[in-house]
């Protein structure tokens, strides 16, 4: 029983990481109808930005909540800027082109970031500075909690709540929803669609960057190819929840984390990476809209 509950805790904690990345995916897809393959690599960049920022301000030497928040904010800002650059130079010119072109471009950007990352950062793994620490060990009997992981969980939830607020309670959010509903109609209503798309892209990138820092905190090993698998899995999570849907992304990510955890724990650990894709294919075959997605019919 202890083992089962421990697995449950582990699954939720890895799921919350997937959720942060999945949110960016789902938002960009919502407004752009584009699967941004480079999203996982922006998460990688976030981890590296956080690494350099922490080293620049020597945040590793005085771990505190302030250090963490400082690194987090700066990383989110730089990631948003990177996202802005990518969007402006690579995606904006393709707004009117077939979606496949944009998809190929995003694959190109993803590979560019990965391989250039290897050249610039070096391909050896780096140790992410411990910019925040909670001493002691939290445990109930044999059940172990990593205090850092709980911190990360709380921060993730906070970020998601802020996101929810932005989308549903602000004018900007309303514009975003309008654009995701229908580009042309939105622009007829006077919404600056291009600016809204850029903003959404920046928001998604900032979230991915936050994910990078938080992962670096709990799993302090970062490398240029770290974004590949989490990126793909977060995408699966987004599809599972119904792509384009914010709540769905979170639920999908947590479910995926749990599913992986239990497959590894009880069934066949060596099939872990195949599981996510099997889920993906099954979801797409039997419920392509995902858990929370809305059905759209294609019109002539």
């Amino acid at each position: 029983m202890t083992e089962f509950i421990q697995h449950l805790i582990n699954g939720l904690s890895i799921g919350s990481i997937y959720a942060l990345i999945a949110l960016g995916y789902t938002m960009v897809f919502g407004v752009l109808k584009l699967i941004n393959f480079a999203h996982g690599d922006i998460y990688m960049l976030g981890a590296f930005y956080g690494y350099f920022i922490s080293r620049f301000f020597s945040l590793g030497e005085n771990p505190s909540l302030f250090s963490l928040l400082l690194a987090l904010t700066l990383t989110m800002a730089t990631c948003a800027f990177t996202g802005y650059l990518i969007e402006t130079f690579a995606y904006k010119p393709l707004r009117k082109a077939p979606r496949i072109n944009a998809l190929i471009t995003s694959v190109g950007i993803s590979l560019f970031l990965e391989f250039t990352g290897q050249l610039v950062f070096g391909s050896d793994p780096k140790f992410f500075p411990q910019i925040f620490a909670i001493s002691g060990e939290w445990a109930i009997g044999d059940l172990k909690f990593n205090p850092l992981q709980i911190t990360v969980f709380i921060i993730s939830l906070t970020l998601m709540a802020i996101l929810q607020f932005v989308i549903f309670k602000t004018r900007l959010g309303r514009a975003m929803r309008a654009v995701s509903f229908n580009h042309d109609l939105a622009s007829l209503m006077g919404i600056p669609t291009n600016r809204i798309i850029s903003f959404t892209f920046m928001l998604g990138s900032a979230l991915a960057g936050a994910g990078g820092v938080l992962v670096g905190l709990v799993y302090p090993k970062i490398e240029p190819l770290m974004g590949v698998m989490p990126g793909l899995k977060a995408f699966v999570a987004a599809v599972l929840g119904g792509i384009g849907n914010v709540t769905g992304a979170v639920v999908g990510a947590l479910s995926l984390g749990l599913a992986e955890e239990f497959v590894v724990g009880y069934l066949a650990p060596s099939f872990r990476d195949a599981l996510a894709f099997t889920i993906l294919i099954l979801v797409l075959l039997f419920k392509p809209t995902g858990l929370f997605g809305t059905k759209t019919t294609e019109k002539v």
Partner: protein, 333 residues
């Protein structure tokens, strides 16, 4: 009639080159030639799915790996107990033929299952599913001990050679060229252009899509078999996402929907990889992949239709040449 003459001439040319030129070719260039051939088959077969049928598949390396492993497994199983079969050129080539076709067929069966989701999915969703299938196949191979798992698969007999590879290339080109120019093949194009319109015209779009996947997978499997019996060693790492991506670049660079474009692009990219090596000796860093990906982005932004678009190389020739090649004025697509 004239068309067949062209294919026949090409066949004769391949045979002449094989006996007249290949023995004098340095091994390094010979390897480049073989890999070019394998890449041509891969690019053209992917083009059938991506370019002509308009289904975006990014798991082509998965099909290639199925063909490679299956054909290697079969030729090893047959020759394991009777090594003299390999000494006799007749039986050796026969075994190779059997294992190649089996590899292609195995891959085609997988292609059928990957094609099925395309009935319900389009565009980017399908792309992700094919990617997922590629990954699943890779994880499966890692878990099968009989074919080496992570250790890799060794002991494959050397059976591929220039003649085999280029006859396969010619066959692939012939088959797909004839296919997309047939009435049957036109249904594939109609799916690409407008699925709903095609449906309302009575085209069985379901069939067309699945068939494209099956045929594409079959040829990818053949390419895998040729590759396996040349490299003599298989490892799941060889067939990762990057490999699929390389094939996509070939299709995009050549122009989705242009067979000759894929051929040219496959050759250019195979040769360019090697041509860039001297640079690497100077800089000590390999930034070929960075160049590659940047190149792809720039290509998509400035020339999204690739070198040839949907045109064929003949369309750039004078009408006289075209007539010589095709025996008619009007060309496909």
């Amino acid at each position: 009639m004239k068309q067949y003459l062209i294919w026949l001439t090409a066949l004769v040319a391949i045979v002449i080159v094989n006996f007249g030129l290949i023995p004098f070719l340095p091994p390094y260039y010979y390897s480049i030639l073989i890999y070019s051939g394998v890449n041509i088959i891969l690019a053209v077969s992917l083009n059938l799915v991506n370019g002509f049928t308009g289904q975006f598949s990014i798991g082509h390396a998965g099909f290639m790996s199925v063909g490679a492993y299956l054909s290697a497994y079969i030729s090893i199983m047959i020759t394991k107990d009777n090594p003299d079969l390999l000494a006799n050129p007749v039986t050796a080539n026969l075994i190779f033929l059997v294992s190649l076709i089996a590899g292609g067929a195995g891959s085609a069966i997988i292609g059928y299952f990957v094609g099925l989701p395309s009935l319900r999915l389009r565009g980017d969703y399908l792309a992700i599913v094919t990617l997922g299938f590629g990954e699943i196949i890779r994880v499966m191979i890692l878990n099968i001990d009989a074919i080496g798992g992570a250790r890799g698969f060794t002991g494959i007999p050397l059976l591929s050679n220039f003649l085999w590879v280029y006859i396969a290339v010619l066959f692939t080109l012939f088959f797909i060229w004839r296919l997309v120019n047939s009435a049957h093949g036109r249904t594939y194009l109609s799916v690409r252009e407008d699925e709903i319109a095609a449906q309302s015209m009575g085209v069985n779009t379901t069939n067309a899509k699945v068939q494209a996947f099956v045929i594409g997978a079959f040829f990818a499997g053949i390419a895998g078999g040729l590759f396996a019996h040349f490299l003599l060693y298989l490892n799941p790492q060889t067939f990762d996402f990057n490999r699929s991506f390389e094939i996509i670049i070939m299709v995009v660079l050549g122009g989705a929907g242009s067979i000759s474009g894929s051929v040219v692009a496959a050759i250019i990219l195979t040769v360019i990889r090697e041509a860039l090596r001297p640079i690497q000796e100077i800089t000590r860093i390999d930034f070929r992949m960075s160049i590659y990906s940047l190149f792809l982005i720039i290509l998509m932004l400035n020339r999204p239709n690739g070198l040839f678009g949907t045109k064929e190389i003949f369309n750039f020739m004078s009408s006289k040449m075209r007539r010589l090649f095709l025996g008619k004025e009007d060309t496909a697509t």
